[in-house]
């Protein structure tokens, strides 16, 4: 009996038929492709995109500059006399060329004026366009020419809560 079973197995190739049936199943299944440039892709909650600075709340403390392991942030504080009244920086540069999106600057900022946005389309034909200054930091003007982008409503990534903070909140 065993021998007959084995012989039938040898002739009918059940493994091959199984494999072919799996591919047929996927032929008629719904496709998982997100048609990216036409439809909004699903961005995860903790995705880290382009750095986004609110210049109005910045106090030019240069903590982000020191926290950055890549030295891609450069802050120019205002002159000392002006500093007493208006602490907004004179100039603020972020070099997205070699930014690692590690969010150490976000953690260092005392006023929470630097965040990651969900903007990921940092694609340029000249690498110098990846250097953002005070004017170009809040909104990416390069992306305006495309059909769909995040310019209209730049989502700001909320600060993540550590488990310890969560515990304190529940208390």
């Amino acid at each position: 009996m065993e021998k007959i079973k084995n012989f039938i197995k040898m002739i009918t190739f059940p493994e091959l038929i199984k494999g072919l049936s799996v591919t047929t199943k996927y032929l008629f299944k719904k496709k998982v492709t997100e048609e990216y440039p036409d439809f909004k892709p699903h961005i995860p909650y903790r995705a880290k995109g382009k750095l986004h600075v609110q210049i109005d709340t910045c106090i030019s403390c240069r903590l982000c500059e020191k926290a950055c392991p890549e030295w891609c942030i450069k802050v120019f504080p205002p002159p000392k006399e002006q500093m007493k009244t208006d602490k907004r920086p004179q100039e603020f540069y972020i070099n997205q060329e070699h930014c690692l999106h590690c969010s150490l600057c976000v953690d260092a900022c005392p006023t929470g004026s630097i965040h990651h946005s969900y903007e990921f389309e940092l694609v340029v034909t000249n690498f110098k366009e990846l250097l953002f200054n005070k004017e170009t930091l809040p909104y990416n003007q390069l992306l305006k020419q495309y059909k769909w982008n995040y310019i209209e409503n730049v989502p700001v990534r909320p600060r993540t809560t550590t488990p310890l903070e969560q515990k304190e909140n529940t208390k």
């Binding site: 072919l20 799996v22 047929t24 032929l27 496709k31």
Partner: protein
């Protein structure tokens, strides 16, 4: 008298060749697109759908790009053989289409019969077999003349693979020829129509052997060792631009040729299933022509789908496994089957 000869022997065949070549080139271009889209569907994605409606202009874009690409000839290469090798593998499959018959003969109002074939020669199947082995020359020459070791290895693999699978292929085709009693492809189909059963029934083993060895013969997955895109580098590594496109088109022309040959041999070709064709042909000849051609096209499409399906499913064979399957499994099976079919022919098919 002279004008009659001119029309019958020069003008008519030329028109037939032009129509056939145009059709074959279109089919070859679009089977690539169909394969890419179907592979996408099998892998639960969409495939090329942006270039033109449903991606229909994709083959045109690919062809344009390949045609305009720089044509590199390595300094180590032998330029003459390097240039001539793609033509060697490009021509055989296209010549093979000449002997295919697509429907029962067309009856003209004057009572003359016209075959639906460019040249329905009486050694048709033999011609296709010999042409398919001629295609190896292109691959071997391409690998050898490239002046690089990887293409040479690829072409050597290809040679031994084709040698291993040519024999079971031919033996399984011979069993069909024995049943039909003719090398002519239209005779093979007519024999299936008069016997009122397809040769797949007595030759089921031959059919499966043929199906496997034909995949190896056309260098398709799971037997695509000569090309081996992803890890083992193939025979056309040094080819760029249009010369590479020749190899590419030759591969797909081979696939189309095989997809049209298989139904003719085993599934009755242009025979319409569940109908007595030859009876109906006496009363409605044109209807039978059209329906027969459609059924032939449907059967060929089925096989084209089957080849894409197995490409989407199976991984590649290891080289020693490939040769082992060829020599020690398929070869004895096809040889035994030949005797079996001979006995069937002798005692059962009168």
């Amino acid at each position: 008298m002279n004008s009659q000869i001119l029309i019958n022997y020069i003008a008519f065949p030329l028109i037939k060749i032009a129509i056939l070549l145009a059709a074959v080139f279109t089919v070859v271009a679009y089977i690539v697109l169909v394969e890419r889209r179907l592979l996408g569907f099998f892998q639960s994605r969409l495939g090329p759908n942006r270039v033109g409606p449903l991606g229909l202009i994709q083959p045109v874009a690919d062809g344009l790009k390949l045609f305009l690409k720089e044509d590199l000839i390595p300094t180590n290469a032998n330029p003459f053989i390097f240039k001539i090798a793609p033509i060697f593998s490009f021509f055989p499959p296209f010549v093979g289409f000449a002997v295919l018959t697509f429907a029962l003969p067309l009856i003209m109002p004057s009572g003359k019969m016209h075959q639906f074939a460019v040249a329905d020669v009486d050694l048709g199947i033999l011609l296709i077999l010999s042409l398919s082995s001629l295609g190896i020359f292109g691959i071997i020459l391409a690998g050898w003349s490239s002046g690089s070791k990887y293409p040479l290895f690829g072409s050597l693999r290809s040679a031994s693979q084709m040698l291993a699978y040519e024999i079971p292929l031919t033996l399984s085709v011979i069993s069909v020829i024995m049943m039909a009693g003719s090398f002519r492809l239209s005779d093979i189909v007519t024999a299936q129509q008069t016997y009122k059963f397809y040769f797949i029934i007595p030759g089921i083993v031959a059919f499966f052997v043929y199906l496997i060895s034909v995949v190896a013969e056309t260098n398709r997955t799971p037997f695509d060792l000569p090309e081996g895109e992803s890890e083992i580098i193939g025979f056309h590594t040094e080819y760029s631009g249009m010369r590479f496109a020749f190899f590419f088109m030759a591969e797909y022309a081979n696939v189309v040729l095989i997809c049209m040959l298989t139904p003719a041999l085993f599934l009755g070709g242009y025979d319409i299933p569940f109908l007595n064709d030859l009876e109906l042909y006496k009363t409605h000849p044109y209807l039978v022509n059209v329906l027969g051609f459609l059924s032939y096209a449907a059967k060929s499409t089925l096989f084209a789908y089957f080849y894409i399906w197995i490409r989407a499913t199976f991984p590649r064979y290891r080289y020693d496994q490939l040769l082992k399957v060829g020599w020690s499994v398929l070869f004895p099976i096809s040889l035994l089957n030949l005797f079996l079919v001979a006995l069937i022919k002798l005692f059962l098919m009168k």
